[in-house]
Symmetry: C2
Subunit: 428 residues, 2 copies
């Protein structure tokens, strides 16, 4: 049976979220959530969808970068996924543009994720289950261990996966029954007033979320007041994380978090540059026992490796669409398991919840084997544009049951949000 | 007098260097040296030229990224350089594509460097001299200290610059008289046979170069033989550096360099991933006293800061076109001076020698104030395409005297090498 990739389409899709101040934080005052979107089609009639998430300007560049991968993809066997991944990441000329970071790496991520969406659909399974039923040897084969061997070897990875293997089936059943716990960032955007914050905190509790998160870092007086407000609504023990979106240098991070310490932050997220491993380590040491979390902007497995080696993070925030797609994210899940650090994925934006739930569930089934201290971020925006949107029940992600990676956007949503000619932008 | 930027042109320029195996190394077997090239024009008739260097595929994406900066640049006052730099780097939407790394950051670099070329031309001075005559306060104003304050403050920077200020004039004169020492990589490409290596080593000595460099990392037996050959030609004390172009993991770097140690490497360059600060530090400790050098792929000042903080490098290899242009490179020169690490810039490719000589000379005049242990890389390729090509005399870069940043390519070279329609590519 043939399954050659015969077509690759790209779309520059943007949602005018800045009009509502949804998603506003200390570094991103007016994002227009966007997707540089790719559709792969095979000659046996299947489609794989994937995307890189951006927040507006530059989404055209991101889309062009995906388009530049067309020669690598067209004519290839869709099952040749592992080879294709390594070829794109390792291409000697393309890697000059990174290596393994930024626009070109996110483009590879979009294509790799589309290949996985395609594969899961062809196998008739949701991605988390497809991955969760692969053998430890098959999973290890998906990983590029280059630059990891001082922290994680293929033998380490096999050991981790084999330990979880005998009990996979019960965790698959538990996921189908109870889902995976979520936390919500919806109350905490900087653009919201205190009344809205209070109301949304209450709603989060009522909806059964396990944690909330507040954006901080623009103004300390505001943050103290907003944190006090949230604490008052949520009670003294409810987990409230704070997120500075890279706003601080090392000293200001320490000072600011120390001021917020009385409100008992569950973690402080992105206190400084995602590139600053040593900075994160210095902050973590100084603000202990407040845990540090980061990951949504961490460019690849090599930086995650160092964050773990340096003891700089207590929570690893996997992102589904920044590093080199599913394959590199499996490497990162294995690294986290090796260092015993829980993965609490980043989500939100457009479609990031849809994608990352599969990775967290795969982690639970086949890698860490645990939900302890783990929650997936949830933001209640833009799900209506997806063919298989996430479902939240009792504050938990319901395990996806449809085949694929939940990456597919609805055709009408794509058409309306094409930039700059879709009706949402042209007004026509 | 008006000096508004009224036009911005971009060009995808590629040289078919892979046909000759020039520039072949362990990671880059067949590069086509390329420039994503930008020309800014003002309404008073001046032009600024700049480019991002790539090695072939993806140069279209890089050119598109530069094009995406058009709205930031058009209509702006060319003297508004500092503000424009901070605006592009800090743009909340664009920075999602990095932040400050990869394709988008290199695009900003190209535009910032073109603005400096323009400014230097309008002032009628070569860039190294224009910068070298600015006051310490003006220089500090060019720098974005975000994420640096744990290692370098504006006060630190002022102290460094003020210390060098009284003796600037004598160093300007010494540069004009004797130039700046160079080393050559031309003998050491992997694609050359031993006979060619021997001949080119001899030529390098005859031409007065202060150091040579060999590419290593593809095959240890070959490397041992090639290093022995070069050592035999150059004598026991001549500095011979080795360059692995990121080929190794930590353990294999240590093993490989240890095997080459008897030939006394002057430094080992890019032993592993440019993202791996802790890896570089571990390698440096294990192979001591062989010094570690890196920088051509280091994405920004934040990673350089950490390499210095961790004691991971003994030589810092500045690249003119990867980080955010002249402004960020000044931050990096200041960091190196603060930590007392000599800067030995990366060059080669297309136009990198032309650009980086200005930064090394500025460093000598106004920042480190020293040439000790410092050499600029030199590769004798593609200079004929530049309007103001580098000149090497007695193994030294001659200080440029024409106004600008030496960034301007000759119109005929641009036309012939446009990809894919220039005569070199279309064969027409």
């Amino acid at each position: 049976m043939s399954r050659r990739i015969v077509e690759m389409e790209t779309y520059d899709i943007r949602f005018p979220t800045s009009r509502e101040l949804d998603g506003s934080d200390a570094m991103n005052p007016d994002p227009d959530y966007s997707a540089a979107y790719v559709v792969l089609k095979t000659d046996d009639g299947h489609e794989g969808h994937g995307f890189a998430f951006t927040i507006g300007r530059g989404n055209d560049v991101q889309t062009a970068a995906i388009g530049a991968l067309r020669p690598y993809v067209l004519g290839r066997d869709a099952d040749d996924l592992g080879a294709l991944y390594k070829e794109m990441v390792g291409d000697s000329q393309l890697r000059w543009l990174g290596p393994e970071k930024g626009v070109m790496h996110m483009a590879i991520s979009a294509v790799v994720n589309a290949l996985w969406d395609l594969k899961a659909k062809r196998h008739g399974k949701p991605l988390w289950l497809l991955l969760g039923e692969m053998s430890p040897e098959e999973i290890v084969d998906l990983v590029d261990f280059r630059y990891l061997s001082d922290a994680l070897t293929p033998e380490d990875a096999l050991r981790i996966l084999r330990k979880a293997e005998p009990t996979r089936r019960e965790r698959i059943e538990s996921l189908r029954k109870d889902g995976y716990p979520a936390y919500t960032t919806s109350p905490g955007w900087l653009g919201y007033d205190d009344e809205k914050l209070r109301r949304l905190c209450k709603e989060a509790l009522d909806q059964g979320f396990k944690q909330i998160k507040l954006k901080v870092g623009a103004d300390l007086e505001d943050d103290l007041r907003r944190f006090a407000t949230a604490r008052e609504v949520c009670g003294p023990d409810f987990p409230i994380a704070i997120d500075a979106n890279q706003r601080w240098d090392v000293a200001s991070a320490i000072e600011w978090v120390t001021a917020l310490k009385p409100y008992n932050p569950h973690w402080v997220e992105e206190p400084t540059s995602p590139d600053d491993v040593l900075g994160h380590a210095a902050i973590a040491e100084a603000i202990s026992p407040v845990p540090v979390a980061t990951g949504e902007h961490v460019q690849n497995r090599i930086v995650f490796k160092q964050l773990l080696q340096a003891g700089a993070i207590s929570y690893l925030q996997l992102d589904s669409a920044r590093v080199g797609g599913v394959n590199e994210n499996i490497a990162i899940l294995l690294l986290a398991a090796k260092f015993g650090v829980p993965v609490c994925p980043h989500a939100g934006g457009v479609g990031l919840c849809e994608l990352v739930q599969h990775l967290a569930m795969f982690d639970f089934v086949a890698v860490s084997g645990s939900m302890e201290g783990r929650v997936i971020e949830y933001v209640d925006h833009l799900h209506e544009h997806f063919a298989d949107p996430v479902v939240i029940e009792q504050g938990c992600y319901v395990a996806p049951s449809l085949p694929g990676f939940s990456a597919q956007m609805r055709p009408a949503s794509i058409a309306a949000h094409l930039y700059p000619d879709g009706s949402v932008w042209s007004g026509s």
